[in-house]
Assembly symmetry: D2
Homo-oligomer: 355 residues x 4
Amino acid sequence: MIAKLRIAVIGAGYWGPNLARNFDASPDWDLVAICDRDRHRAQLVADRHGGVRVVTALDELLAADDIDAVAVATPAATHHEIACAALAAGKHVMVEKPLADTASRGEDMVRAAAEAGLILMADHTYCYTPAVLKMRELVREKALGDILFIDSVRVNLGLIQPDVDVFWDLAPHDLSIIDFVLPGGLHPLSVTAHGADPLGAGKSCVGYLVLPLHGGAIAHVHVNWLSPTKIRQMIIGGTRRTLIWDDLNPQQRISVYDRGVDLNLQALHEEERSASTVSYRLGDTWSPALPEREALAAMVTEFAACIRENRPAITDGEAGLRVLAVLEAASRSLARPDVAGLIANDQRELIGETL
Amino acid sequence: MIAKLRIAVIGAGYWGPNLARNFDASPDWDLVAICDRDRHRAQLVADRHGGVRVVTALDELLAADDIDAVAVATPAATHHEIACAALAAGKHVMVEKPLADTASRGEDMVRAAAEAGLILMADHTYCYTPAVLKMRELVREKALGDILFIDSVRVNLGLIQPDVDVFWDLAPHDLSIIDFVLPGGLHPLSVTAHGADPLGAGKSCVGYLVLPLHGGAIAHVHVNWLSPTKIRQMIIGGTRRTLIWDDLNPQQRISVYDRGVDLNLQALHEEERSASTVSYRLGDTWSPALPEREALAAMVTEFAACIRENRPAITDGEAGLRVLAVLEAASRSLARPDVAGLIANDQRELIGETL
Amino acid sequence: MIAKLRIAVIGAGYWGPNLARNFDASPDWDLVAICDRDRHRAQLVADRHGGVRVVTALDELLAADDIDAVAVATPAATHHEIACAALAAGKHVMVEKPLADTASRGEDMVRAAAEAGLILMADHTYCYTPAVLKMRELVREKALGDILFIDSVRVNLGLIQPDVDVFWDLAPHDLSIIDFVLPGGLHPLSVTAHGADPLGAGKSCVGYLVLPLHGGAIAHVHVNWLSPTKIRQMIIGGTRRTLIWDDLNPQQRISVYDRGVDLNLQALHEEERSASTVSYRLGDTWSPALPEREALAAMVTEFAACIRENRPAITDGEAGLRVLAVLEAASRSLARPDVAGLIANDQRELIGETL
Amino acid sequence: MIAKLRIAVIGAGYWGPNLARNFDASPDWDLVAICDRDRHRAQLVADRHGGVRVVTALDELLAADDIDAVAVATPAATHHEIACAALAAGKHVMVEKPLADTASRGEDMVRAAAEAGLILMADHTYCYTPAVLKMRELVREKALGDILFIDSVRVNLGLIQPDVDVFWDLAPHDLSIIDFVLPGGLHPLSVTAHGADPLGAGKSCVGYLVLPLHGGAIAHVHVNWLSPTKIRQMIIGGTRRTLIWDDLNPQQRISVYDRGVDLNLQALHEEERSASTVSYRLGDTWSPALPEREALAAMVTEFAACIRENRPAITDGEAGLRVLAVLEAASRSLARPDVAGLIANDQRELIGETL
């Protein structure tokens, strides 16, 4: 029997208790400490888990010998400092999304983990839902053929956040999912963001992200805080099949349509193209059975597995970085609406040669 | 009893027979002739309507004394020539969408009609559906408050057209509806189009249109030929209520949500804004009963009414022009993806001082 | 090339014109006459089809040599007389549903056709929709396994009919579909009907039909004139899979669920049964592509085919009879609500040894 | 400030912990003890609530002075003994559904509570959901007019229970809701049950309940363990409006249709009735906003309120009894399928003069 790994959860606010609950329930992990400056808040969480240790000082926590890894659920602006300290203390690190508040700080974290030979994992929770795991599998095994377009919509009545706009609040979900699903991750040729602030809230409350991909494909994200009904839908169109994920339809979250448009490629080289060069396929629809499993349970399992196997997590620091790079480019695009917000050269290098 | 107006339908292809059927069934109109260069095609239509006259030459048709108006259902490239000749012959004119193949030809037609004191009407058929008429009524009586955003999606497996891209094929519907619904019509501050041609068809098959409006509002249109399922949905978000039109849900096409986000406007002028300045309204949903009526029947009624009352149609030439202006700006934007495709100044003047 | 068969349509009211249109459009048929006592009404239909012959006297029509078959679309009470006369005159006969107004008259018609060696076909139109044809195929090829239950719901705001109750108005659709889908047809062990007349209309406006089947299975039909929303849904539960037909969802009319409850059959013979003898299967969902085809077009094709091949139609007179037998038993059940309305012995014999 | 009432939860199995959690969270209650023969199980629950007292012997619990009321969440067969002992000890009692395992034992409990002047309340949890509370309000304020029909469907893949059939497992929900919504409660004129056991499980797995009501109205319940998709839908048709409750549509659980059929009542007394005596109303649809509140929280609030106000609970023992009476009559009906399962005279007396 493999010894359990030992985890401390840093941050006992909104998300930390969910992490603590899943680490505690996991056969892979021993939850050994809750760390928060607010002792009372940390104690409340600890009490629910058999009275695990409560620590209020980060350096005290990181000095402990009985901790293999930490899960960071603090505000984004503190991620860099906490993660770097933890890595320096030899702990593996999992960080709540977004990885950091800036791409350069995120890069710093990724570099530090690489140099220390430790795991840095992004908590892109949605990627661990059974639906998104199935989407990744279908896309990667080419069940959809080549990807033609991805259209993601995430709208609902949302609290207007004091510190972030609708892009930074909601789009990390869509971007991390698209990054997770695409082989090689999300590498847009450019990033253009269009935002609207019709209430005068001082930030975008309605947002559109345009992400041209290689080969003429396109990804598009619509995020919106002002819609009275929820829509959480992603269409992934491929040359062979098209997939629709409707996260609010628990009875049929994923539908795969064996339907599409076929282009007679030979005809493309001729002078005269006509409608006759295009034909429809009207095939069956298929909806795979999905297991009922909490995403966070799968996530903590993956964190343990990549530590034990000494391999990158399927949502590793690089993935977190790619999401950050798009969000930063979106912000630059918003600031200069007359030009498409290209991803800066230095980031392009970082996020990879496949760009 | 008012004498009936006398109409000839020009063009016996796909759309002309629908027009002929509705003019023939209308108490306002006498269908007197079908005109098409292809006599056989025209005769087939005429036979269904008690053997009305068949004419193959346009000038012969326009020389007739017993015709008050013509309905033009020929390819867009011929609209300008036919409409101008008809106006010159003293006939009122209704033209299938789009009004013309270029904005400048459309302007020419509008000018000609104005100078001749004749009616020029755009056949924006969707505007005459009970749902869209109700949307116009609700927006104009301020039931939604001020408009914050309009998001329109029109996707389905579409035949890739030989002569037009997905914008010119599908977006006229969305644009004419938005133009119809907004008081004063659609006057975007700029037009940015993003298209994708992932199949290498030589034109956009997936398209996004971004239309910032006055006061921080935004309109957005997603048109797509490659989706295996149909979506035809428009969300109109307002300060008081939000409306969702789902054209594919005949049991509840329009839903009006008395829900939204309220911003404490006083707090906006203070240094520190916080989430507490925003509150939700969670009110009832309401779905108005809609009559069952064919849109074209309402359209031919409007054509008769505006001739008799000597007033512009609710979808007049100017409306057709505003739609054309956006489509042309979209094409310019596509050609220069690095800049937002601003509507040219001359067009801005034309399409109105409210811009 | 096979010579066309020659058809006359009898009855130019509501349904006759639809029949005429489909026979006229069929490559199998020549539409040669429209017969109705009301010459004007018949002429209107004839005019739409190139001026085919109009006949007002039935015996004149049946005396004609150039007619191979007749399609009867007159009130149910006249079916027996017209069909028997047509059979006596050597014409094949297709009869609008219900086959007759009483089961005994229906039997008479079936007997007459058998003795004359002519085709008698019931126009159970729904059976010729692509969805129902697919359901029949799936049930008959045992894709669902053995049938456990069939639950059919057909509710909408319906005009309260002057001459029939909700069972005779709506249930023929459900019954003819169930009869069509089940191998061997619908042979309930008994028929119990429950009706309600809450408005005091003098007849049932809400109705439930309970039809126990062989082997412990059950069919149930809910018909209702008083519901403000339409529901047209049939669930066919089988040992292997379950099928749901939602006729109002054009994007996914048929869903086949590879899910169910498995009973450990060995455990059934033991004294103590427990929940552990039951297990779930949670498999995929599959929705077959269905062609777009008008049901009546398939129906007139079948009528021609069974004449040429001298075989019973897939909705033959016997099928019409089985539906009638259940409707009559339902009426008897309603008249004696204290007992289950058993199908009378003589009818049981008629409707077959498989009962 | 009012002193809190003191509660003990009896039974620490599936449902007891939910009760304990809600009593503990309520401002009206002090949770003082958990009682279960299995000390370990009780301790686990107690630990989650600050270490409240654990008791394993019922008589010890009931002898305590610091307990005002008990909540019973044990198997149905034990309800009678526990509740009667608690009432004899002067405690108010809330009992999980069903009230008892037989109607006569339930009557005994109701009588004992009445004689002791104590509250006996049925935990009909569904009645405390915001949707059902709203339905009750709308029906009782006559927003729907007179009730014409109630059709309830509750189907899903259900574990085949070892001790109960599908009626006793699922129908208590539907029956308690119908009882709660109807003014005066559910008093069917008779009860007929139809069950099917197509898998040979030894009990009904598919069930239909027919409940004629006064004035020609009808209630009908469909419960089914074998359906691969969930349906939880209730239609309540009234003379003025019709309500549809779709419990699986969180975005629009309740829809009220201002649509219906109007009967010209004067015409009913004439010899000749015709379709013209009926007319449609096609009005708007309205969906009331519903608060998000856990049903059990509202239930424990009601328990406290009816103790303090010394009034029957809105789901009192009588309500539990009416549900039991229908379930027993259903079982009798199943045992004699040839006759409608009338409610026995003695029960009819008990369940009230309004029958």
